[in-house]
Subunit: 531 residues, 2 copies
Amino acid sequence: MSDEQLNNLAFDASDWQLNHGSLLKVIDRAREDLVVAKPVGVTLFPTLFPRVLFNEALALQETYNKLYTAIAEDEDWLQTTLRALIETDLLADVLWGIHLEVKEEGYVQAISLGIFRSDYMLHVQPAVPGGSRQDIQIKQVEFNTISCAGGVHGNKVSDMHRYLHRTGSHSPQKLSTRPVGLSMSNYPLNHTITSLISALSAAHEEYGASRSSNVSQTCTVFIVQPNNFNIADERPIEYALWGQSPPIPTYRIMFGQDVLESLSLTPTRELLYLPPNRPSSDPPLEVSVIYLRAGFEVIEYDEVGRACRLLLERSRAIKCPSILSHLTTFKKVQQELTMPETLERYLSVEEAAKIAKTFAPILPMDESHLGLRARELAMNPRAAKGYILKPSLEGGGHNVYGVDIPKFINEIPPESFSSYILMEKITSPLLYNILVSPRGTHEGPVISELGVFGFCLWKRNESRHPSDGGLHEKAEIVRDLKPSWSFKTKSANVNEMSVVKGYGCFDSPALVDRETFANHCRQNTQGKSSE
Amino acid sequence: MSDEQLNNLAFDASDWQLNHGSLLKVIDRAREDLVVAKPVGVTLFPTLFPRVLFNEALALQETYNKLYTAIAEDEDWLQTTLRALIETDLLADVLWGIHLEVKEEGYVQAISLGIFRSDYMLHVQPAVPGGSRQDIQIKQVEFNTISCAGGVHGNKVSDMHRYLHRTGSHSPQKLSTRPVGLSMSNYPLNHTITSLISALSAAHEEYGASRSSNVSQTCTVFIVQPNNFNIADERPIEYALWGQSPPIPTYRIMFGQDVLESLSLTPTRELLYLPPNRPSSDPPLEVSVIYLRAGFEVIEYDEVGRACRLLLERSRAIKCPSILSHLTTFKKVQQELTMPETLERYLSVEEAAKIAKTFAPILPMDESHLGLRARELAMNPRAAKGYILKPSLEGGGHNVYGVDIPKFINEIPPESFSSYILMEKITSPLLYNILVSPRGTHEGPVISELGVFGFCLWKRNESRHPSDGGLHEKAEIVRDLKPSWSFKTKSANVNEMSVVKGYGCFDSPALVDRETFANHCRQNTQGKSSE
């Protein structure tokens, strides 16, 4: 691809982005009146991905929804699993404390909304001499249950790739490493924005009419972080809710003080809201759904932050997520699910097998037998090479990679070891693409991550006991929506997938058969490990 | 409205703009890799406008289409009208020269596409003592036939106002000067983007199948200016054409050298184009429609620019606009149409009367009797106060206002006087609004301008002679599409409506009855004159 061709394509892409809100807001705290935006990092082409594995990941989501809703209602198991973490991790501690406080008073809303995102990378299982041939699988990186981002961006970039394909900008001669003959059927349609709206609408509908006297209207609220540069991933959902027929009133409220000032509970714990643009003589609205795009970082939980989350959790509104569901996002849960027979507590043997297949080996870092073994691995420079040390937090970032682990471990107090898990590195095949981000242009080997969005409404059913098969099913799924997806890609040379830092770029998969895929990935036998 | 309320509303508006491509691209020639955009100037509220006059302006457009297509095919009249201008104005001269050159060879395409915009301001006709009461009318500011901009921006800002209304941000207490009880029915739906697409699609369809051998595909081309900051007003039209089913291939080509390098004529003057993203072994596409968003400034017509426009005009593609239609946009034409009996050459007496009612008095500045009178007025500081001196160019800007006219007239050579017209100032009623633009926030009295978009396809019919009624109707209208509109508003304290300079802001009208309107405009009897 010539420089001129590349420039033209990048130019077309950025114009498309400016016209479709595929942007990051530039926040300059020194100049509040300055409103500027720049395109979010994107790939110029879709990255190849095996169709069969893409379909497998999407098909798995219904079972993952079942699993995570079951865990979220299995307080005993959660408590046992998180006990050590609650003792050492401030966020786990504050969330658990809020749960206990609300439990004491009694929960008034049995229904919760889950907007989950299960992230996968491709993993190359090397050929065994004389045994099975090399195999490519999907391995789960993490499972997110709060504030799952990237859905809108992923949808838009997917639309952009389809546009660029339609206009001929993705013709084969543009990127020599691409298979010839890719057609629109290789570009899966992304409907994540629609799915997000359907999920929130379904919860709003499930909530039903307002219950408090003198209130006739219900509304959803988005609880957001201040100085948000990522409005383009949130606002389109609000606009679409307002655009429903009839409109679903939707308001943004900042986590913390603003929540405490503008929301209040009735004696029967309906959550009331008076939008700032309404006269104070107007009746308030009753909140049907709380969608959290904030409250996932420990720094947000000062005294005011804790009071804010407590108020929300105490209310009758449907939470996305509830505190217990939020707690399932901790890496410790992900690790514990890999332990023998845990899955079988919630899933049939067949279901458990399918889910377990996507697990990369994960070790605890606690004082259990396995945990002590993991500590040894983490302190050994040679052994540590094959691992990633992850804090048991929501979302990516803060990870420590391979050879950096021993030094890091030596510098933190041993009592905080339990806040980490040790995950085997996933050996990803390298594909080829061009990334354009505020950080510049990268052309070369890349690694992708598929995020599968799951959407479901479930109801806590305390009266249910383990069923005939012995399954713990206190979560009764009320609505299960079709899953959707996002796709991110980074240079193979960096560890982090962070889009905000300009490493990761939104992308879409070009779905091909296994053979075409194998022919187009680079050096996948020596597979540069990364995540 | 408190500062906090204002800030919240402005914040909501700019977020909406970032998410909907209601933006201007920031062009920094020093840093080509920098891609940033900022919101285009907008009003926070719609500005009041009498419903009856809004409807009148839209209803008039069909007649204006008839008039301007008739003029565009009346070469004799155009030549007589523009003769003096062609002698003094470089742009008129170069366009006329291209017309003559193509005419000599023979035009091969009888069909043209018109995307027109007729701009109006409200005018207060003072009450006559003992006679008629004060009256508000629409007066035409100008009629544009090339590169009519603002359609996409206007559509989006109108959508934004409807969104802000829906969310309650436009409730009456927010702006004390607004009438109570405005509802969505006061906010007319804007469909300009759809109309632009329909017009271009209709022309593409009218062109029909490709005629040149070995070419199977047709496409439309947008001829654009380099370093375009206003992509958000053009690109959405392209995207929508690509999004038609089946897609209408649409390409942007820069006016000048790029046109000469990438487009070529067959011996029978089909216009062929090979997109830069196609392999050179691919067959070219045949251009069905040329949509000019460039070529309206004299500076574009160096030798290369002239050759570019000549190539386009010679081709079989349907032009939007043709050279003759382009020439009708000169203010000299607008002025000449105000002369007695000119309208009757093309329109019925009833039609002519309706059109004439929208004319503000305009005087020529040539050596005719009227022109000499106008020169006297222009040189007299007291008389000049009531006038605007306008160069006979396309579009706004470059105007000289009131008391500045005599000094200006004294500084330019008398032989260029004919390039100007002298228009009586329109006395606009003052409304109240809040403007937010990169220039800052303005709250106070404002003046608006309604642009009515007309769309039609017509066919030159040389064989037609003046009909029974004596009308000159060499233009046979093939398709007349429903008109649409844009709306701009500026502070009453500035003369210019320029959005690019941050004075004018995109807006939408809140349609009310005459009485409500009269009750809410400020000091319209002493009506600050402006335009």
